[in-house]
Subunit: 195 residues, 2 copies
DNA sequence: ACCTCTCTAGACCGGTCGGTTTAGTGTTCG
DNA sequence: CGAACACTAAACCGACCGGTCTAGAGAGGT
């Protein structure tokens, strides 16, 4: 056998995550995933018996977890709340710039498409956001912020960054991500200080 | 003739705007638009000779303009920067709640799908955001804010609201929209005051 | 050696996709 | 009255959709 155990599965998953992120669920065909990953159709349905839905749910969960780790690393190196949020902004903005404004949030496009109907894809997207928010909330708490305050601030930061990412992709200009991160970071520092 | 001049065209456009908003561009078939609007296929290609792309571009532009008017009305009734931004939040949150979390931003889903490639749809989405931002910026300037300050604050408010709308749709809970609007409103008031 | 189990390979399916074409219907205006 | 026009109506097209199925290649165990 040419590939080692599970290698094809991983390659399909990665390709699918990239395509879903950039084009959305409905606009991405399985044929495209297969062509770009170099896998035959039989392999796809061997590894993902529930078809496109399972593939998308797993792809979103994986992409979300990977981005979560990158976020955690950025947060770990931050000196305080303001630094933490500008670091998140820088991380996301860099992803945009490095991909010619194709890679924004790994789950946002699919999340919006699937927001209407329940199912594993929606669950995976929702879980991803809650994972990220949990990580940020805990980091803020580590700087002495109260539980509810940290949670609300994390919501505010995540919302702002997500929206800025959307605006930046549409404009093909990442300036807004940096400026929004800077402002929200300043608010976070202020709230942490006056506590 | 059963319908008056252009009535079928308007009905197709409205149905298309609703479906694109909720499901995205790729996931919405022309057949569905036709079925729900009650129009035959021939009429669609008579009124929109460039097909699906033209339909989507016009639908986004119309939906964006309508929302822009609703936003302008909300802004017109506001007493100051804080009031203005909470009013926008209330408007958007109400749309979510009234539609069982289906109607968020009328263009966001399509905008993300089409962010990668240039074309009339992307242009319509970008134009919509710039229209909204222009309206908010001018309203802020009316309260004595400097040009650049108003522009940056409008970017911040729009980003935050868009992101909150995304989060709220995924969670099926509009709380985050209200809380984000309140906080950003407070910042806006503070900036306007200390000027 | 051989069997078994995992995984690859791709032909094939019915259905739906966006799009085209042709015929016809009602209105308007000369 | 009848020709020109605006629009409706739906049959039809090739391409592609997601999904199924069967055949076989390769590695590991005994």
């Amino acid at each position: 056998m040419a590939q080692s155990r599970g290698e094809t599965r991983a390659r399909i998953l990665r390709t699918a995550a990239d395509l879903f992120q950039r084009q959305g669920y409905g606009a991405t065909g399985l044929t495209q995933v297969l062509t770009e990953s170099g896998a035959p159709k039989g392999s796809l349905y061997f590894h993902f018996p529930q078809g496109k839905e399972q593939l998308a749910a797993e792809a979103m969960a994986q992409a979300g977890a990977e981005m979560g780790e990158r976020m955690a690393a950025a947060l770990a190196g931050a000196a305080g709340p303001a630094d933490a949020i500008t670091a998140l902004g820088a991380l996301l903005a860099q992803g945009l710039e490095n991909s010619d404004y194709r890679d924004g949030c790994p789950v946002a496009t699919v999340a919006l498409e699937e927001a209407g109907d329940a199912g594993p894809i929606h669950d995976a997207c929702q879980g991803t956001y809650e994972l990220w928010l949990l990580g940020l909330t805990e980091r803020l708490r580590g700087w002495g912020m109260a539980e509810q305050e940290a949670r609300e601030l994390a919501d505010l930061a995540m919302s702002s960054l997500q929206g800025a990412l959307l605006l930046a992709r549409v404009r093909r200009d990442s300036t807004v991500v940096h400026s929004v991160a800077r402002r929200i970071g300043a608010i976070a520092a202020q709230e942490a200080g006056q506590k």
